[in-house]
């Protein structure tokens, strides 16, 4: 990630030291006029060169969404003025000067390559991140995917979902919407109608993916909403570790990111999904920032399957997401490890759902919430044990750390147990950084600021240790930058 400290917002002219990823990439983008109707849905589908079935699916989703009458879900503990869905651009993608889409890495605007370098995500394979294959998504389109050839040799498909729809229609048709149907919720319906790009991964039976796969999402255009769609399928006995990172420029107005991610793990397969969410959080007064309304869900379809979500959420004005696991296969395992941080006027309502269907299914939930400034942090989680889930087990631990006296931490655990053999444990704590701990560390020569971060990092350890090493370092840095000025 870039280390320079000073970023001047083009829009506000304000030096923004707090959010160093806040620059705009000066490239040409093709932008569809604001607003949403069936024509726009068809246009997006057409721009992607999609087959008829895909267009129809989008239209069905759109009609369902319209039937909801612009009524957004209201149950989360977040507050924002109503969103004008006709005031959003639903498609923007980089184009070359002659209006055509870049076809290969060589045709990509050098500005774009430089920008991704600056974000710490080099697109050229020779500059690669140690052992990580990257799919870079700018606004509505994937701009580059690295290491595709190497992965192909193993039978692994790692490509933009727009490409998968054309090249692997059977796989996409079989699984798209199978975990998160477009009727699932308001934003899932909207996403299904207008989703632009995201990543498709398929790992064939028995293959252990030799490198981490990463998608880097970047919002660039001012008025654009980003509708990421990701679909990951791990076939029998396979393993894949997938990482996602996200940033956006500093903008005075709020921007919408409404993603849907679906994971499918067959017999004995494992998917490890890690997120560093660093969307623009808004300024100190709560102006601007991304609305991050996301539906992420995985299903352990087969026996002994495992899905593990790890997330570090430091960005966005509002985060609304519940990465969940449906434990259908016997002996399958679901995990959720989360650090959610809110500062200034950020709001987060995040947690998970673990739905136990198969026998001897196990789930673990470790959620760490940090609130500073006027931030409001809510953990919301559901553990549901179905009558079929003999011997199911869940362990949940929710810890909240408060910094200052104007923030809030809320824990809302739901439990639905319909099988008497289930074992459920729930632990929750709320604490402040204690004076005693601070004094102990400071009495060894450590400055107050360093001592604070050491304690906060320690608080997050159980989650950070689930991340790949470099991501964990990054997460720790991000936490520090996000909290700068709130401590000491």
């Amino acid at each position: 990630m870039p280390r320079e400290r000073k970023v001047i917002s083009r829009e506000t002219g304000i030096e923004e030291q707090e959010y160093k990823w806040g620059f705009v990439i000066p490239i040409k983008e093709e932008v569809v006029p604001k607003g949403l109707n069936e024509e726009v849905v068809r246009l997006i589908s057409q721009k992607k060169g999609e087959p008829e079935w895909m267009t129809e699916w989008r239209l069905r989703a759109y009609r369902y969404w319209r039937s909801l009458g612009y009524i957004e879900p209201k149950w989360a503990k977040v507050y924002h003025p109503p969103i004008d869905f006709q005031d959003i651009v639903y498609y923007a993608a980089p184009v070359r000067d002659d209006g055509s889409r870049p076809k290969s890495l060589d045709e990509i605007d050098p500005e774009l390559k430089r920008a991704f370098d600056k974000l710490g995500i080099p697109l050229e394979e020779q500059k690669r991140l140690a052992g990580v294959a990257v799919d870079a998504v700018l606004d509505s389109a994937s701009v580059a995917t690295t290491f595709q050839k190497k992965l192909e040799d193993l039978g692994i498909i790692f490509c933009p979902i727009s490409e998968a729809i054309q090249k692997y229609p059977e796989l996409v048709r079989q699984y798209l919407g199978s975990v998160v149907p477009y009727t699932d919720n308001f934003y899932a319906a909207l996403n299904s109608a207008v989703f632009s790009d995201g990543t498709f991964v398929y790992v064939p039976p028995g293959v252990r993916c030799p490198m981490d796969l990463m998608t880097y999402f970047r919002i660039n255009e001012a008025e654009v909403g980003q509708f990421e769609r990701t679909l990951i399928i791990a076939d029998r006995g396979s393993y894949v570790s997938y990482l996602e990172g996200c940033t956006a420029p500093i903008r005075k107005r709020h921007q919408l990111h409404a993603a849907v991610v679906e994971l499918i793990a067959l017999d004995d397969a494992e998917i490890k999904y890690s997120t560093l969410q660093n969307w623009y959080p808004g300024d100190k007064e709560g102006r601007g920032g991304v609305y991050n309304f996301v539906t992420k869900r995985g299903i352990c379809l087969g026996k002994n399957a495992k899905i593990s979500w790890t997330q570090v959420e430091t960005g966005s004005a509002i985060t609304w997401k519940y990465p969940s696991v449906i434990l259908k296969g016997d002996n399958s395992v679901g995990e959720f490890y989360s650090v959610a941080l809110v500062n200034n006027y950020q709001q987060a309502d995040t947690g998970t759902k673990m739905v136990h269907i198969g026998k001897n299914t196990r789930s673990t939930i470790i959620a760490k919430g940090i609130a500073a400034g006027h931030g409001q942090n809510t953990y919301r989680g559901l553990v549901k044990i179905m009558p079929t889930a003999d011997g199911a087990r869940n362990f949940t631990r929710c810890d909240s750390l408060l910094i200052g006296s104007r923030c809030g931490a809320h824990t809302v655990p739901y439990l639905e147990v319909r099988n008497p053999t289930a074992r459920i444990e729930h632990e929750a704590t709320t604490s402040k950084v204690s004076e005693e701990q601070l004094f102990y560390l400071m009495s060894r020569g450590i400055t107050e600021e360093d001592a604070q971060f050491m304690i906060i990092n320690g608080f997050c350890r159980g989650v950070f240790q689930e991340l790949p090493f470099e991501f964990a370092m990054e997460a720790s840095q991000l936490l520090r930058v996000s909290l700068e000025g709130t401590v000491g």
Binding site: F439, M442, D450, A451
Partner: protein, 255 residues
């Protein structure tokens, strides 16, 4: 230099929550000296060393503390530590998720940087840490554990002495480091203190019992009662207190 005054406390009055605990302390400590501070429970022994280390809860009401020529009371706890003051805590606090190794590395880096010394490489640091851990009889596994988390009483005290040896301060404040230790652990802790003491070092050893003084020979013994030093002397004062109890001194002072 041996004999040079390192700490001078003059007329120190202090308390907590409006209650005066120290009612006028005068004490001079020179390099090379070990001072034992004894006294019954609630006499202000712990308050004294905690104030010297900069614990924020206490209010200083009057008096002055000069350390190496500096106004100690104006310095933050971390500045004091970087200048060579070390407090071995009576009840070291747990810091969840923070590894001992990481904690000590950060502390040593901060102190060395302040002294104008190079940071140690990971290899050098690990070697030094292992050596010090051996000296206080701590296993290597403890260095991978979280700071004081799940430590037994004895492990916590050894960990404090390990830090004393590793950070190598000028003035060590030991707050009842001997309490709750069995005889073997006490010997290890005493050995650590003896290893540390030297012509360029000074020790303020707070204790309730004279037992540890059988292993750590003090140059001066002071008895603190009701926030005042009521008697000062040599090793023999500690033995006398042990034989006759604190009440004897109280009566002697009052009469």
């Amino acid at each position: 230099m041996t004999g040079e005054v390192v700490l001078e406390i003059r007329g120190l009055r202090a308390g907590v929550g409006g209650v005066e605990i120290l009612k006028g302390i005068d004490l001079t400590v020179r390099l090379g000296e070990v001072h034992a501070i004894m006294g019954p429970n609630g006499s202000g022994k712990s308050t004294l060393v905690n104030i010297l280390a900069g614990k924020p809860d206490y209010e200083v009401l009057a008096g002055q503390v000069i350390y190496k020529g500096m106004d100690l009371l104006a310095m933050s706890p971390d500045e004091r530590a970087r200048e060579g003051i070390f407090l071995a805590f009576q009840y070291p606090v747990e810091v969840p998720g923070v590894r001992v190794r990481e904690f000590l590395r950060t502390a040593l880096d901060a102190i060395r940087e302040h002294r104008g010394e190079e940071k140690l490489s990971v290899k050098e640091f690990n070697r030094l840490l292992q050596e010090k851990a051996r000296e206080v009889g701590m296993g290597q596994d403890i260095l991978r554990r979280n700071v004081n988390e799940g430590f037994s009483g004895g492990e916590k005290k050894r960990h404090e002495i390990l830090q004393l040896l590793l950070l190598d301060p000028t003035l060590a404040l030991l707050d009842e480091t001997d309490s709750g230790l069995d005889i073997d652990a006490l010997k290890v802790v005493a050995q650590g203190i003896n290893r540390y003491r030297g012509p360029e070092k000074a020790v303020l050893l707070v204790t309730h019992y004279q037992r540890i003084l059988n292993y750590v020979e003090p140059d001066h013994v002071h008895v603190l009662m009701d926030g005042r030093i009521v008697a000062s002397g040599g090793r023999e004062l500690a033995l006398e207190v042990e034989a006759k109890g604190y009440e004897w001194l109280r009566q002697a002072v009052e009469s």
